[in-house]
Structure formats: structure tokens, C-alpha cells
Assembly symmetry: D2
Homo-oligomer: 131 residues x 4
């Protein structure tokens, strides 16, 4: 991805980059893609009933991460309350999805990876929120 290059060429950031921000944006897009893949892989398992909660959480988490990544990407006229609100929602979704995926990690490699990616995204959002 080209997150850092795009940030450093933004007219209002004067060449600054921000490692915490870059990592959060990257984690959000990664998590959006991974959760979309995990929901789909769970759906395709021969017994998907025990994975219903996992499918649902992955769909929700994918949607929230995609929006969070997009909002964090925008740097013109940012509203800090809105930024904080969506980061908090993203942290909740990533935590819930990581917990649920973690329950299936020993049976399904896609759930194991997804749990890990969700945890990374949760931490990246918390670090941006604290910054």
C-alpha cells in the first residue's frame, strides 16, 4: 500500500508522516479484507452452523474497519469527535471478532489468522486513540 507516501504528499501535513496513523490505516484495510475472507471461508465450511456468530461478527467487523480506514485516511478538516467515535467502535468490533475467531482457531486456519489480524487492528486503533 502507499499510505505513507500519500500522507507525506498531503497539502496540509507539510511532509510530515505519522507512524501511528500509518499503522492504523494499514491495519484497518488489512482487517477489512481478512474479515471479509473469514466470513466467506466460514460460510463455505461443510458445517457452518457453529460458525454463525463468527460469520456475523466478521461481516460487521469488515464493514467497520473499512469505514475506519477511510476516515483515518482523510486529513482535511478532521473532526476529532467523529474520529474518536469510529475508532472506539472499531476497537469493540475487532475485540469481539478476535475473541470469537479465537474459539475456532484450532479447527480453522482462516479463523486463527483472522483473530491475529483483528488483535493487531484493535491495538493499532487504541494507539491512535491514545495519540
Amino acid at each position: 500500500m502507499h499510505i505513507q507516501q500519500m500522507i507525506s504528499s498531503h497539502p496540509r501535513l507539510l511532509g510530515q508522516t505519522n507512524e501511528t496513523l500509518v499503522r492504523c490505516i494499514e491495519a484497518c484495510y488489512d482487517c477489512a479484507q481478512t474479515c471479509t475472507a473469514c466470513a466467506d471461508a466460514c460460510l463455505g465450511e461443510s458445517h457452518n452452523k457453529p460458525l454463525l456468530q463468527c460469520i456475523r461478527l466478521s461481516l460487521d467487523c469488515a464493514d467497520i474497519c473499512a469505514v475506519t480506514g477511510g476516515i483515518a485516511t482523510r486529513r482535511t478538516a478532521t473532526n476529532e469527535d467523529v474520529m474518536r467515535g469510529i475508532l472506539e467502535a472499531c476497537i469493540v468490533a475487532c475485540r469481539a471478532c478476535a475473541e470469537e475467531c479465537g474459539l475456532h482457531a484450532s479447527h480453522h486456519e482462516h479463523c486463527r489468522i483472522c483473530a491475529e489480524v483483528c488483535r493487531t487492528c484493535e491495538r493499532a486503533c487504541q494507539q491512535l486513540l491514545a495519540a
Copy 2:
């Protein structure tokens, strides 16, 4: 829209409908569309510089409302923490966007309508959160 009919035919809701939920979903999709239109109309104004904050907030609010409407639509294996988290983020975004659009309401009819639609969505999300 067909929100109520879809809810009442959901296998897990047994014909129940839920007025507060239906109104919230409807308000979210309405607000997603209206904010997309307001960001675009502001961008197309001959002097868009005083509307930068309005464009940015409308883009963010549109994204958050769309995701909130989608998550509220899903009724299988709902995670209440995630639902609450995104409703809270949506309330913050709608409030901020309504305030900013309200500042331009006397000059731009699209901002006047958008402020009103955001207020309606904010209330609908609060009512669902309280339910």
C-alpha cells in the same frame, strides 16, 4: 424501502416487527444518501472553501450511517457490544454533521435538508440504543 417486510420474514424474529429498529435502519440509509448528496452539492458550489468542514463531515457521516444501517439490518447472531459501539459512533457523526450543516442552512438548501436528516438519524439511533 422494504425494511419492515424483511424483518417480519426473518427466520429468527417469528413475524415480530420492531418500530424503533425499522425507523433507525430507514434513517441510516436516508442519512447515508443525503450526506453523500450534500458533500457533492457543497463541492459543486462556486465557493466551496467555507464548506470544507461540511464536505468532510458529510463524507464521514455518509460512510458511518451506511455501515450502521447495514449492521442494524442484520438480525442473525447479533453482538450487542458491536451494535452499541456503531450506534454511538453514528450518533456522534450525525450530531457533528447536523451542527456544521446547520451553519450553512440559510445559504444552501441542501445543507438545511441535510442538517434535518442528520438530526432525525441521531434521534433514531438514540432511541434504538435506549431500547
Copy 3:
């Protein structure tokens, strides 16, 4: 929804409204919501295996309709090739989803409604494409 009011207050449309455009935008948002609901209702059915294709098509159709509705909403500096391209993709998705949902219409009311809403959206996109 406030589609017509937002179009008639757009700075570049000078009070014009466009019935075909309004109907298409409305149909896209309706179809995005309905397909999201149908994918979720199918997932929640006690036997969802025969509905796998229906779930997948509804997820894809929901995503494409949401994007098409958003792009059709924007009226500043429209690129006609992009508009046509996404309308064509939307027509394909709505047709495929309507056909698949139609196969389950006698068993599942949500599939019957979804098939109908997809057909309406397919037609509304075709009419805008022809305009």
C-alpha cells in the same frame, strides 16, 4: 428518503429534477438494504446449505447497489463512462440475484421480496442507462 429534494437543491442542476435518476437512486438504496437483509435471513435459516449461492449473491448485490446508489447521487463532474460501467455491473448483479432468490421464493418470503426488489432495481438502472 430525500433524494428529489437534494437533487433539486444541487448548485449545478438549477432546480431540475430527473424522475429516472431519482427512481434509480431510490431503487439502489432499497436493494442494498433488502439484499443485506436477505443474506442475513438466509444465513439464519435452520438449513442454509441450499441457500449458499443466494447468500453470496445477496452480499455481492448489496455492495454493488450501495456503490451505484452513491455514484448516481453525485452530480458534480460526473464521468459518464464510470456511471455507465457501474450501472451495467449493477444490472448484472440484480439480475443474477433476482434469479437465484426467485428459486427460493415459494419457501422463503424474504427471498420472494428480495427477488422483486432486485428486478425493480435492474429495471431502474436500465432506464437510467438508456436515458
Copy 4:
């Protein structure tokens, strides 16, 4: 991103990976993020009027790439017509956005990068379409 790992753990792909598919998904998410950043950077420029077309195309291209990336990610019960339709729409959007951004590449580094990322995504979609 974890695209390849998620594909190789998908229950229906039996450990296969598909380089063309992986590259296309990666290019779509990259392009969605980059176009979102370019629209926002253009909006934040002190003279954004000559960039109106660029802002609009970047918003549309971001939306279409995000949806295309999500649909290409799903591997359960894929409908080939829908896949082809959205890939074709994505090619049109990337080409149009690359051309427009290319016009501003010598003045704005964010447009230069965005044009390049759009070209990469256009090619990756064409290669998947041909496969």
C-alpha cells in the same frame, strides 16, 4: 495484508493459491485507500477548483475498488457474471481516474502516485478478467 494466507486456508480452494487473484485483490484495496487519500488531498489544496473532476473520479474509483476487492475476496459460490461485471466497471473507473490524475501529476505528488496505483489496479483487474 494476509490475502494469500486467507486464500490458501479457504475450505473450497484446497490449499491452492492464485497469484493473479491475490495481486488483483491487493491492487483493489491499495487503490481504494490511495483514491480516498487523493480525493481528500485535492480537496485540501488551496485552489481545488481545477481538481473537481479529480476529486469526483477519485471518490467513485475508491468506492468501486473497495467493492471489487471485497467481491474478489469471496470464494464461496462465486457468480462469474457478477465477478466479470464488477471487474469491467473497476477497469473503467481506474482508467478514467488514472488519466485525470495524470493531468495533475507534475503539480501534485498525490495525483502522480494515485495515477500510478490506478494503472496498476487497472492491469491487475484485466489480468484477472483474462484468467
